[in-house]
Symmetry: C2
Subunit: 570 residues, 2 copies
Amino acid sequence: MRLSQFHLHTSKETPAEAEIVSHKLMLKAGMIRKLAAGLYTWSPLGLRVLRKVERAVREEMNAAGAIEVLMPSVQPKELWEETGRWEKFGGQLLKIQDRKEAWYCYGPTHEEVITDFARNELASYKQLPVNFFQIQTKFRDEIRPRFGVMRAREFLMKDAYSFHLSDQDLDREYRNMYDTYSRIFTRLGLKFRAVFADTGAIGGSASHEFHVLADSGEDAIAFSDGSDYAANVELAEAVAPHARGAAAEALRKIDTPTQKTCEDVAALMGIALARTVKSVAIVGADGEGKPQFVLALVRGDHAVNEIKLSKLAGLAEYRLATEAEILEHLGAQPGFLGPLKPVKTIRVIADRSVAAMHDFVVGANENGYHLAGVNWGRDLAEPDEIADIRNAVAGDPSPDGQGTLGIARGIEVGHVFQLGRKYAEAMKLTVLDETGKAATPAMGCYGIGVSRIVAAAIEQNHDDAGIAWPEAMAPWQAVVCMINPKNDAAVTEAAQALYRELLAAGVDAALDDRGLRPGAMFADMELIGVPHRVVVSERGLAAGSFEYRHRRASEAENLDRAAVLARIAG
Amino acid sequence: MRLSQFHLHTSKETPAEAEIVSHKLMLKAGMIRKLAAGLYTWSPLGLRVLRKVERAVREEMNAAGAIEVLMPSVQPKELWEETGRWEKFGGQLLKIQDRKEAWYCYGPTHEEVITDFARNELASYKQLPVNFFQIQTKFRDEIRPRFGVMRAREFLMKDAYSFHLSDQDLDREYRNMYDTYSRIFTRLGLKFRAVFADTGAIGGSASHEFHVLADSGEDAIAFSDGSDYAANVELAEAVAPHARGAAAEALRKIDTPTQKTCEDVAALMGIALARTVKSVAIVGADGEGKPQFVLALVRGDHAVNEIKLSKLAGLAEYRLATEAEILEHLGAQPGFLGPLKPVKTIRVIADRSVAAMHDFVVGANENGYHLAGVNWGRDLAEPDEIADIRNAVAGDPSPDGQGTLGIARGIEVGHVFQLGRKYAEAMKLTVLDETGKAATPAMGCYGIGVSRIVAAAIEQNHDDAGIAWPEAMAPWQAVVCMINPKNDAAVTEAAQALYRELLAAGVDAALDDRGLRPGAMFADMELIGVPHRVVVSERGLAAGSFEYRHRRASEAENLDRAAVLARIAG
């Protein structure tokens, strides 16, 4: 592409409306232009990137044996009533009335349409398994569209739906799609994780989210450095970091007149926060439904996970204890509490990590005092219950026994689900099985936010100068910048020759022949994130070299023609 | 593509709902599946064809210098109010209210959105000319959606919009797009015509429609066999077929007691209908606005064109004369009328062809009689007016002086317009010109009905067995049909080898390994219209040959491997 023939429109101003870096950079680079809330036009530059993502997704889906279809974006209400989602889907469903006053929606997803398609198309087990996909425009009427294409209302999505006679075959295809998604994000050059997910309201059995890792991600993810284990931090199982060690210290009382937090006590004593225990007083229900005073123990450096806690018996609707309840049960004020039970009816729940501690520090249940050198069994009874009640943290052993957990933030760009028979049953989809009997197929569904990937990739790959695309997503892999203020024919010829040579080598190259000053040209190319930049100038030609710089390199180098080609096309 | 891994779903039944052949065949071939009125899912088979059309359009648009963008399908009301089209567009505009009760529409076209994009993107004459295009889903809420994807509500369209500083530059790009459209339809292998069109309500100056020729087309087109002249029959200029010949017969009165039509008189006299003249009595207005009795004359074998007639002075609101008015002015009943003026105030308008006649037959203005051997000047005064007041017919000279007109029926699949400054002015789009002054750009717009082309191509290319695709649009160019009831390894290997060889030669080939009986397999391949069919069978292999048949050939041939490859990939 000769940029003089292209429409490039960068801006120096940082748009005030943009809250996140990808939105800012997409506007500054001129990749998108806002039409209305949550509605964006993709400029020629933005579309080049979007199409590269789309192509990678399509090719990998085809290679995985999925078959492409194209369903309408407008869907009749009647289908959504068959599954009960016309009412249940909520405000994100954009409802439309046509000129005959019939109701439709702008499809936010296509389970109903594909199941309707399948009940017309599929009659026999011989047609199974089959996995239909499409790459198509969706609409979700977000209550607060923001972050540019990251949470737009109209967006481009790849959605796939598979049909199977048996659950085992659904498992196989689910794994196939899981692997395909891994190939797609690897091919796009993105750091990502497949995260085990709660299936939540969607129903079905297994589910993984694919997250592009980025510091700005909305979700925190715990992942192993020794396996492909990954889970949302709040869902990741937290295991004890080690077995319980033997007692080495004597029990002693510490004067802590104003030290009411683990941090303060550890600081006073000059010990690691991990040697202290936090006692959280809550009230749940006993076996008969009566209020029960509970002490939940986590290590001083850990945080209680309310979801995990609420899954324990009697704690589904727990609340924090009042100061009066605490005084009544423990005889001390908050800040000095500990698991030495003054009252037998107290239920003590220790996190696994706490149960593995020795010589630890707890509140003395006496205002102004803590106890140190505390050991289970010796100084106090073993906990009533040992459970996973904390958030996983970096350094925890991976729950699958392989490696250690790290924590990263992620942006969800893909999702694979096992839907089971929910939609097939609701919409009466059956096929004849091998014995001639009607059987309800199991379904899987597999989504990728194609336009969202573009924004997520920027969140992961940028610096102060702009975007630093992975090569597979860049609008162009390489740009030849022509510096030719004197309009020297030799410079023009050399630049065009190098540009043509790159194209011939299969490189998606651009020639910046817009005649800008070098500074403005380089700033543009850094902002839009072209991976390889080669400068052709009179001075360089005189020295027989081109100035080459990779977008992520700190310095430019002078290379000859062959070396430039080897760097870019090699 | 191995068809055992594909989802092919043909049907033997002819769907009752389908009124036209393309709709029938697309349903029978399983290319589309109806979701709701005017909404269709494209099956894997149909999508293969649609994508081939889309790709041809995209590649030719890129080659022509247009730049691809992607605009939202949902558009805010405010933009449509700027051009006044929110109200004016009518019932085809699907209006949508979002959760915040703001109004939008599902875009039926994108003039407003692109002009809004342009007023943000374009600031200087240096950015012009530019032509933005997109290939995107549109919605028109047809009052009676029918004919499958031929007149669907949701459809795929390529729309392009160009911006120019001068009218001359718009003319240049208009011609560029005209040529590009010609290349697109030529590349797709379609017989088509670019038809001069009235710009009608859309505004602007020049306009051509591109029609795929098909007997079932809605529009009749007059086109030259000696130039690229083509026009809607009702708009095509009709010229006299020859100069006026010399009088050879004497004027005589013919007894025509019951012969009231040209057909009856010609039959009675045993002469060609083209030697008779039809006199149509109408009433228009004279220069002072008073009723004026007019006789419009066309040849007996021609038809009066009401649009042309109404463009003549005083005839904008003409009506047929009553029998009383006819009696008063001509003294005879309808059926026996002629241009010999009994009353001087009668205005006689002769079609150009009538003015060129000699020795012709007209009514005698006397009940029961006609006159034969009539000649202008000798037997009656020259016509008051000679004008083009008839429909062009096959055999007419082309109005551009090159060749002879034929008449064909066509399906509109493309349209190029010069919009002028209508939208730019309404939406206050300006750029700075060379002198630094704000200038309003001229615009062109260029549409192609991508999904409609698929149906139009079938209307043009089919027979009793099904679709006969032009090679560029076929779902596959060639299919290798494997007949292997004994599961003979040699047959399987030979079929797979030939299939791979075709792929390696760049042929988009399919291998029919579904294990169907030959009859069913061949019927499927003929129905879906694959151009080249090669049969690999045990018997053929024994004879060292493959059975080859082109979709349009009446007979199959036995060819060796090299000859098969030459036929298909050569």
